[in-house]
Symmetry: C2
């Protein structure tokens, strides 16, 4: 396995649950787009040597200007899977390890990026950061009746970046017909073991308006570490 | 079924994940204890006619002073189940419907309390408010390896208040040896159907420090509706 690490960020979605009209990835957070924050975190890892972003096709130039010359921006596809596949193909040939990261996790700490990449480099073909769940989870049927309560201590909420050997992720994405909930799910379907490592609370996904409130509040409370906010 | 509705709040826990030393329920939020906010929401429902709080045994008097004369405060037990059982027994005899509510969900809207109570009164023996999950969830084994990805559209995160016919909840709690993850889980174990209704984002549980930041930020952003903050 080539040990050069690249990262792809599918950011072509609209993020309708967030409201406001702007494509989700470009929503500002304390004045700077979520996508920019997410990409900067990836670039701040000494392990990551290339970042490819899949942007809405009409906004490739705008996104390129926002992110600057160190990042390759490609037109994304209709669905997240399409965008990941396109971005994956745009990585340099000698990238052997790929991180897939959500633009909507703008407060992800750099040390989590390093931990995921390091665990793949240590020989795990697929690595995901996870956290225990706060709420009890129920399985329900189509009528909203509770079917089952899975034991909470066996459940984990999955975050990003998720890390993969590039050949494994490419094989996973070659199967177009798999039902996709996440990248690791595709890899699991191949029978490849998926390893979990501890996630980070700050890596929460900005999905609903309250998540924006939390992200802004955390940024307002935090001490700037690098002169940037 | 007697249609008088009561609510119990088990608030004897320490909430160690939150840090800070104060019992979790008494942690202030924009200046007022979480427990007080949660109880006020219950009392603001026209359907709820009695509230019983299980407090840490050494703090029964303090909690009684905080909550005022309209609320019955009883010494809680070692575990949450014990506190619920004690509070349940302390409700008036003619209470036929019981809501069990977390003190740690201080921003729960009153309309959610009404919705849960109304659905029980409409003939559903057990009712829980739920929300879809934001993150993909994995089942893992003891080594942290992913075992399975349950389909996300069949999973729901459970909130409170949870509503029950009192006889059903009493029967559920009579079985001391059941593994408990939540009140509805005990009822499911009896074979009683559990109905889900839409939850509310604001009803999130304050578990980790970031949850406190979010709750404070939401309170700071909200327009006071009743002169109280």
């Amino acid at each position: 396995m080539n040990s050069r690490v690249g990262a792809v960020v599918p950011a072509a979605g609209r993020g309708e649950r967030l409201g406001g009209g702007t494509p989700k990835a470009l929503r500002p957070l304390a004045g700077r787009p979520m996508l920019l924050r997410a990409v900067e975190t990836l670039l701040s890892s000494t392990l990551v040597s290339q970042v490819v972003v899949a942007a809405p096709p009409t906004l490739v130039d705008v996104v390129g200007q926002i992110l600057g010359s160190g990042v390759r921006v490609v037109p994304g596809g209709a669905e997240r899977v399409d965008s990941v596949r396109i971005a994956l193909d745009a990585l340099d040939d000698d990238i052997g390890v790929v991180l897939v990261h959500d633009a909507a996790r703008p407060l992800t700490p750099a040390k989590l990026v390093d931990a995921v990449a390091t665990t793949v480099l240590d020989g795990h073909p697929a690595v995901i950061p996870v956290l225990p769940l706060t709420d009890t989870v129920k399985e329900i049927d189509a009528e909203g009746r509770v079917v089952r309560t899975p034991p909470r201590d066996t459940l984990r909420a999955v975050q990003t970046p998720q890390g993969f050997r590039r050949d494994v992720l490419r094989a996973a994405y070659a199967n177009r017909d798999l039902p996709v909930t996440d990248d690791a799910g595709l890899v699991e379907a191949l029978g490849v073991p998926v390893t979990t490592i501890p996630g980070a609370e700050e890596a929460f996904k900005v999905t609903r308006p309250a998540d924006l409130v939390l992200a802004e509040a955390l940024l307002a409370n935090s001490v700037p570490r690098d002169g940037q906010r």
